[in-house]
Point group: C2
Chain length 221, copies 2
């Protein structure tokens, strides 16, 4: 059976990694890992004949990527029209300092997903999509806070994109200098880039005695 799970990750030319294809990862798990570690994606679509790239939050469940927007947003229209989109998630892991400036680089992980999405119309499907999005952006918040009501669900556009066609690239290596550039008086190496959560800051009306809930206090990145 030709399910998404056992189909190749990169079935057409546009998603075949061309440059530095030794950096290409082809397993579905590699795709999940990059998507699950991210909080913001970049959504690309075509508007008035030109490319548009907008940042967005997202969520993943199985082989479906979820996004949301105001019902009146351009991105909602693109999904309603089932026009082609590209969604990219990138993590910067280190600045790579080579001895030669030409070989300076970055260590990174990126996933590029191609496809045509669609809008969810059914209220229960939209509620489920909002749950996936909430669990990705703010795990635990759905159970802790107030769920969206029917009016809010009617107002929001919930979009999905199948993870059928994607490419994953990872560079995780020291600097590469060639021949004459290897000189032992020049430092070369990695400067790691770390992203982490800071101290939670309560909104003004939160009473002094109210503790930061565990799903926020214990969150790690």
């Amino acid at each position: 059976m030709n399910t998404i799970e056992n189909s190749p990750l990169s079935p057409t030319a546009r998603s075949t990694v061309r440059r530095y294809n030794d950096r290409a990862a082809s397993s579905r798990q590699a795709l999940y890992d990059v998507l699950d570690a991210g909080l913001v994606c970049h959504l690309g679509f075509i508007a008035d004949g030109g490319p548009v790239v907008l940042p967005s939050v997202y969520g993943r469940e199985g082989n479906t990527l979820y996004m949301h927007a105001s019902g009146a947003a351009r991105s909602a229209r693109i999904f309603a029209e089932e026009a082609p989109v590209c969604v990219t998630v990138t993590h910067l892991d280190a600045i790579v300092y080579a001895r030669s400036v030409y070989h300076n680089s970055v260590n990174y992980r990126s996933a590029v997903v191609h496809g045509t999405g669609r809008l969810l119309r059914d209220e229960q499907d939209k509620r489920h999509g909002m749950w996936v999005l909430a669990e990705h952006l703010a795990p635990g918040a759905w159970n802790y806070g107030h769920e969206p009501d029917r009016k809010e669900l009617a107002r929001v556009a919930v979009m999905i994109l199948d993870l059928t066609e994607a490419s994953v690239k990872v560079r995780n290596a020291p600097p590469i200098d060639h021949g004459d550039d290897i000189d032992l008086n020049t430092w070369a190496g990695l400067l790691p880039v770390h992203t982490h959560f800071g101290t939670p800051q309560p909104e003004g009306r939160v009473p002094d005695g109210l503790p930061v809930p565990e799903h926020i206090r214990k969150r790690q990145m």
Copy 2:
């Protein structure tokens, strides 16, 4: 005189912020601030009729954005053809926890630049572009390490994009809950997201006694 500096940042419809336009910043300095604080951009272009979004390093000098790629890369071809591109830089600053899941959000800064770029052809122009890129990604590395030689300059594609048309959006605010959702037993607030550099890691052939150079050791983010 209608220079880039005194022209409006967002002269056409495609770069006019539509959603949440109270979050739009219109000064050129706001654009510079977002671009200068970033290390990775997302480059959007059209290939085979569909959108493609790829991560890239970049640099800025005045009102010019510089990027580079292998001479054989798709992105180099897009700039050689002077096809329309969109370059977006996003910083995630905080997860916004509202009392209502529907109002969960993120604090962020983003810049979206539209235009048609071009390839630099002259060797001195390319060398200058590589310097701008190096000073952005790895300030101080150009003077410390080995400069690109003529063969390397011939091999690399250096692309420029004028900062003529751009939009900047910033959300920097506490969560917003409405009416019934304001309940004093539910925590709401911000979970800041910080990005910083870690401890430099020397490449294997760096002698034990060689100190990490100051331009790397002192780097802050």
